[in-house]
Symmetry: C2
DNA sequence: TCTTACATGTGTCTTTTACATGTAGCTACC
DNA sequence: GGTAGCTACATGTAAAAGACACATGTAAGA
């Protein structure tokens, strides 16, 4: 089974593991990291696990996501050759991006309540 | 934009609405409903919104999901012509399905903690 | 020189989801 | 007895999202 998609269950010791991830969670995670301080892609890649847990985001998908956010005007970027090493593209959050982050926070709060109701109902007749 | 996929943002009053749903949440919702009592597809379709919120599951996808669960031995089914109306396929949870529901509950609990950490960090510098 | 780490990408396939449509039995009503 | 409408199950298709492989180039150090 090559190139398997975003399934919640994963092969692990001969079984499937349930992950229960929030859809597109990498997006609000990026927005939050960028609100704290501007950063370049590779830096974000290393800091994302603080928010997403062990699940590491694929490099390629991260850069695609960043470009998508920029096309929608949610982040802005510019080449930064000031520091050592290869040139970096430094991303920063725009006001529109900050508003989207606020919407994400509200949605995540509602998601928390939904999941809490589910778990309560699950425990009821355990 | 026809046949748009499971994006977190949705067109709504000229903007995109963030949903922050848990991936494949319909699966644990089905398992929980079936643990409470055996049921047929159409019945489950009407009771699912109790758990998933306003977001209703597509009929076609629901039947596909049920067949998938049956192929994996997580639910069992049999035709039921006893009640009025067209014949129904009555689904019931298997022991394997009950174990999967337990794994989902654990995963959802971890998801709650991840999201709580995110929201804390979001509120820190609001 | 060769390797390793940093940094930014593209190609391509599978899975998941949304939405439209198809089929058929049962019931009620005229 | 015909037909309208509801119930119930099912397939077809396309787009979004994610997984993974791979390409390109810079720079530091053994």
């Amino acid at each position: 089974m090559r190139g398997r998609g975003p399934r919640s269950r994963r092969h692990h010791r001969g079984r499937w593991r349930v992950l229960a991830r929030v859809e597109r969670f990498a997006e609000p995670a990026l927005l939050l990291l960028l609100r704290e301080r501007p950063a370049h892609g590779y830096d974000l890649l290393e800091r994302l696990p603080e928010l997403t847990g062990e699940a590491r985001v694929e490099m390629g998908n991260l850069y695609r996501l960043l470009r998508g956010l920029e096309e929608e005007g949610l982040v802005s970027s510019e080449w930064d050759a000031s520091s050592a090493g290869p040139a970096k593209r430094r991303y920063a959050l725009t006001p529109a991006g900050e508003r989207l982050l606020d919407h994400w926070a509200e949605a995540l709060h509602r998601s928390q309540e939904r999941t809490a109701r589910f778990l309560e109902r699950y425990e009821e007749r355990r």
